[in-house]
């Protein structure tokens, strides 16, 4: 439900970087969206498409990389990808609350000219 605000922020950051580089156009935005970020990638893309006309990113491509959850098992001292919302280590069964990735929500890079 808050994807529109986040898309606006991404477009503002992109315009700001383009301006500082003296670039007129933003051709591509590369974003990273974690499974735990609370953001639906398709809703974010929809918002970017809807809000980019009239900004330097009008007509830009939006690459959204989805980052899956990765936890760390304190007992086995190794990372694992949880199978579901219960973050149980597949090797020892212990539930981990040490989440190492999946919260990402960032504008990674731009292509400008």
């Amino acid at each position: 439900m808050h994807e529109a605000g986040l898309a606006t922020t991404a477009l503002e950051i992109a315009a700001d970087h383009a301006r500082r580089r003296g670039a007129a156009r933003v051709h591509r935005l590369t974003l990273r969206v974690g499974d735990l970020s609370g953001v639906a990638p398709e809703a974010l893309r929809f918002a970017l498409d809807a809000l980019s006309p009239g900004t330097p990113a009008a007509g830009a491509a939006f690459d959204i990389e989805v980052v899956s959850v990765e936890c760390h098992c304190p007992a086995c001292d190794r990372p694992f990808r949880p199978a579901d919302v219960i973050y149980a280590c597949p090797a020892c069964g212990r539930i981990s609350s040490d989440v190492r990735q999946g919260h990402e929500l960032e504008l990674v890079s731009l292509e400008v000219s």
């Binding site: 439900m1 808050h2 986040l6 922020t9 991404a10 950051i13 992109a14 970087h17 580089r21 670039a23 156009r25 051709h27 591509r28 974003l31 735990l36 970020s37 609370g38 953001v39 919302v85 219960i86 973050y87 539930i95 609350s97 989440v99 929500l105 960032e106 504008l107 990674v108 890079s109 731009l110 292509e111 400008v112 000219s113």
Partner: protein
């Protein structure tokens, strides 16, 4: 004339940077005044306001408690909480489904934070979006009522995973609702093995002593 070839510019900025910055500023301001700040999350109708009514009236005699109460529309909850001894500030979010750090900053601007021990932020009733927005609280409390499904922690894992405490409310209705307490507790534990779990009824008062003791513990830890 041909356009110059596009160049790649690294950015690496969080889209929540603005909220995160404001949340850090809130947290710094709260800590500087030795204030315990709770962010209260639950579905609509889980009993956040009922719990706060008694907390203000009863615990408010022991500690100075203030409340910021968020709702999409109406100040009904703020009116329910008013006149119980502590300051109550309503925040109407309009169409926004969660409180944001800047809304909290504006809400507390008129409060004398140094005159409070505990500030409770009652978030908008919603288990999805509020879980993703840091307000600057140091303790996140999620309520689950016995009239909801026991599998709420599995359906809304993010809210429950980020909780420091999970409070089972409306324990007086567990029987009539056919609430499977063991299953609910197992689901809470499965998604968050570390959370403090409390069980209470704001109507009968059962378990409120433990809730107040939990708040006392937070205050003591902050003072220490």
């Amino acid at each position: 004339m041909t356009e110059p070839a596009p160049t790649t510019v690294p950015v690496g900025e969080s889209l929540k940077a603005r909220n995160d910055r404001q949340a850090r500023a809130n947290r710094d301001a709260f800590r500087a005044r030795g204030l315990v700040v709770l962010n209260l999350l639950s579905s609509p109708g889980s009993g956040k306001t009922a719990l706060l009514e008694r907390t203000l009236s009863e615990y408010g005699r022991r500690r100075r408690v203030g409340v910021v109460v968020g709702d999409l529309q109406t100040d009904n909850d703020a009116r329910r909480l008013a006149g119980r001894g502590g300051p109550v500030v309503p925040v109407t979010t309009g169409t926004v489904c969660h409180l944001k750090a800047d809304m909290v900053a504006r809400a507390v601007a008129g409060l004398d934070l140094a005159a409070l021990d505990v500030l409770v932020i009652e978030n908008v009733g919603n288990l999805v979006c509020p879980a993703s927005f840091d307000l600057g609280e140091d303790t996140r409390v999620v309520l689950l009522s016995t009239t909801e499904g026991e599998d709420k922690p599995l359906k809304y894992p993010r809210a429950f995973k980020t909780a420091h405490a999970v409070v089972l409310t409306k324990t007086d209705l567990a029987g009539p609702a056919g609430f499977d307490r063991a299953a609910a507790l197992a689901n809470v534990r499965a998604v968050n093995p570390d959370a403090t779990v409390l069980e209470l009824s704001a109507r009968t008062g059962e378990g409120l002593g433990e809730w107040y003791a939990y708040l006392d513990g937070l205050v003591a830890r902050r003072a220490g």
